[in-house]
């Protein structure tokens, strides 16, 4: 079936196979390999994308469900060479080690900050509880999200 959706701000029209996973369509057909597969069962969050602003596991989503939606992947988060405050903070705070969970982690955090610009630690933990990281121990990820929130707040105050 033909499906159309907004992907990282651009209109996309592709043929999706019945039963095809959104993850495979994004990776194989659109080349968005920043969407990672860690478990294939919706248990690790590496394949997180934002679907109409909400984080979802694209490994358990059929491609057909993308039709008519607006999605964002990690490839759509920075503006050219200008990194998003979350990306900056993840680097500054050492919240990235192997980087395989990072795209999903950043997208889940981005969704949180768009709804809650000043999240508490509990809220950060809740929002990222579906994203597993085996490298960092999570502490620096929490700090990175807090720092990014501050930066975004300052930017907003500035504007």
């Amino acid at each position: 079936m033909k499906i159309e959706f907004q992907c990282n701000g651009k209109k996309v029209a592709v043929e999706a196979d019945p039963g095809e996973r959104a993850l495979d369509l994004l990776r194989d057909r659109l080349g968005l390999t920043g969407v990672k597969e860690g478990c294939g069962k919706g248990e690790c969050g590496a394949c997180t994308i934002l679907l109409n602003g909400k984080p979802v596991n694209s490994c358990i989503l059929t491609a057909a469900k993308l039709n008519g939606t607006e999605i964002e992947t990690i490839e759509g988060v920075s503006r050219g060479d200008k990194l998003h405050p979350l990306q900056e903070s993840f680097l500054e705070e050492g919240a990235v080690q192997c980087g395989f969970c990072t795209p999903g982690m950043i997208l889940s955090a981005k969704s949180l900050l768009s709804n809650q610009p000043k999240p508490s630690v509990r809220e950060i933990e809740e929002a990222l509880s579906g994203n597993i990281c085996r490298c960092t121990g999570y502490g620096k990820i929490v700090t990175a999200v807090q720092k990014a929130a501050e930066k975004m707040q300052k930017q907003e105050d500035h504007e």
């Binding site: 390999t33 590496a46 990235v96 980087g99 395989f100 990222l128 085996r134 121990g137």
Partner: protein, 758 residues
Amino acid sequence: MNKNTLKVVGKTVRKVDGVELVTGKAKFSGDLRFPGMVYGFAFRAGVPAGKLKSLDLEAARKSTGVVDVLLPEDIPGPNIMGILPPFDQQILAEEEIRYAGESLALVLAETHALAKEASEKIKAEIEPLPPLLSVEEALAPEARKIHPEGNITFSKKLIKGNADKALAGADVTVSNIYTTSFQDHAYLEPETVCAVPSGDGRVTLYASCQSPFHIRGHVSANLNVPASRVKVIQAYTGGSFGGKDDVAAEIGILASVAAVKLGRPVMIRHEREESIIGSNLRHAARIKYTTGAMKNGRIVAKKINIILDGGAYASESPFVVMKALIHSAGPYNIDNIFVESTAVYTNKTYTGAFRGFGVPQVTFASESQMDELAETLNMDPLKLREINGLKAGDKTATSQVYDQSVGFLETVAQIREARESIAEVRNDNRYLYGTGTASVIQGISNGAEGVDVVGASVQMSQDGSVLVGCGLTELGQGSRTVFAQIAAEVLGLDLSRVTVRQVDTDAVHDSGPTVASRSTAVGGMAVKKAAEKVRESLVKMASLMLETGEEGVDLQDGFALLKENPEARIPVDQVAAAAYWSGFPLMNMAFSKAPPADYDHETHQGNIYIAYNFGTHLMRIRIDKLTGKTEVLKHTASHDLGRVVNPLGAEGQVEGASLIGFGLGHMEKILYSDQGIIQNPNFADYAVPSIKDRIPTETLFVEDPTPNGPYGAKGVGEPPVAGACAAFANAVADAAGHRFTSLPISREDILRYLREKE
């Protein structure tokens, strides 16, 4: 080297390979696509022991999209691999099946999904054998032999002094048996490789892997071609922790053989279940431990017996046996030690390298004993560690003497201070509070386990930018950043002018495996040496340009300058260009070779490691008596790592390793059915700590530099695993008033105990 004169080393810097990771641009193996690529999916035994009689492949071969099915006879070489002798692991089982995850055939199809679908249509006729699912069964005298030489994979003894005699003379002895469970690496990226054949008879393998040179050797042997025909490029690797060694070789061989046979690129990408059932786990251990001490707290002897469940194949069991053996007495100065350490084959998933390498298991036992002894002596547990702790000039368990870089007692002092800061809180009706401390020692470098050589290259271009290559892999731990910092330090450059490339076996010397917390110490030393040669050329050129002697020139902040008059300076790119045109070499390849180990492998006495990391951890917990829920209120980790190269990266290593240790101590356990099948091969049932399970690690450093590492640096990748799991166990004992001797000590275990006590 005075710490204060360093400009890049010791400073907090961002990961040099970070931008591509936060933008999703980094290409991991599974992100690669080549024209005509086919996908492999293994058909696995599904039973832990048996004889393969036949495979019915008809339905699979007819299945949609199937290109071929690879069988043992398709492998031109010996169909054998292994990291260490006895090299006993078959790649595709020919007859004997030794564990349920054993691969019997590899289906190749146009997509991963079609290959998987076809693999499910294969039928195997297997004559079952009674599986040996515990070390006790495997060690029984009449037990069936899993391998022709019997069921003992490897067994060694450490003998220092006379433990039996000293125990007999001790004022007190404590004795206990401790057990630990199998743990999965659970790196987020499952194992993936991609083999691409080329017209010149070579094969290029892109691999998510830890040790590209191991893979090159295994692939060439099994393709039956010279190693020079195989090129392994390490793709961005989504975590490894010891895990992507054997299994990366296994699927690397299969993909390469298939690629050559078909003349097409082949990708094999493990699913999570395959990653858990079909690649090595951490050894489960059973440790019998006796400590003898005098009333004043002086430990006079330790007697230890370690049995490790090695699963179906040797993997790195021989080295884990050694490492457990050498570290089991802890960071203490003890005259009489007897340890026997043995790995045993069973019909379970093979076990091997996992961050800590046997040390977490024995540290849990050792540090539980220390607290039990302290209780028996009615002594402060930290005091007991202070009385017995290793100092410079003391003899380690192997009787090695380090004149410097033994910062153990400083880690104890830091933890004592952290403990004093804890406010006294009394147990109440709802909560039990407890504090535990644990100390750890972990050898840096391969040591006498094997040769320890690393090659690195440093190349400066005429524009003054630098390309660094090293044979050790970046797995997320930050080694590329550390190597960049060291090169920048030597050459007086800003970090932004240094690029560190991923490992390509064509372009760098065989540097062995990326293990043993040795990247910073041994790899960093190789980078330093290579950079120093390039520096020599620059200094020589600059001395001609500045018309002074070489001793009068320094490299700083991107300039060559006169030491006496720093304003007389030339940009390094001009110096580099002049050096090039003058014929001074701007590239160098250097080696770092650990000093020869002088070691007796029968008694395990002698010089083994270039240095040890020492550490002490403190954990403060609170147990909810109603639910058993256990919260870590405070976790402080102090480690002597010689010199911190990148504080941010070092903290990240301590925090990440500590959570893996906490998982081992509290949450993680691979569960086998009594039929020998893993029951929880997924993240829903196997509890990898989530962000809600995180612990509030605070990292403290002791910097007692070693002459054997760059700028005194030792390394810290592994040791916090042991520290955190052992400190957790001691905290639970303190809170619950009961010593649990099996890891993990789960919430359910704690609750069950509290209910029974009532």
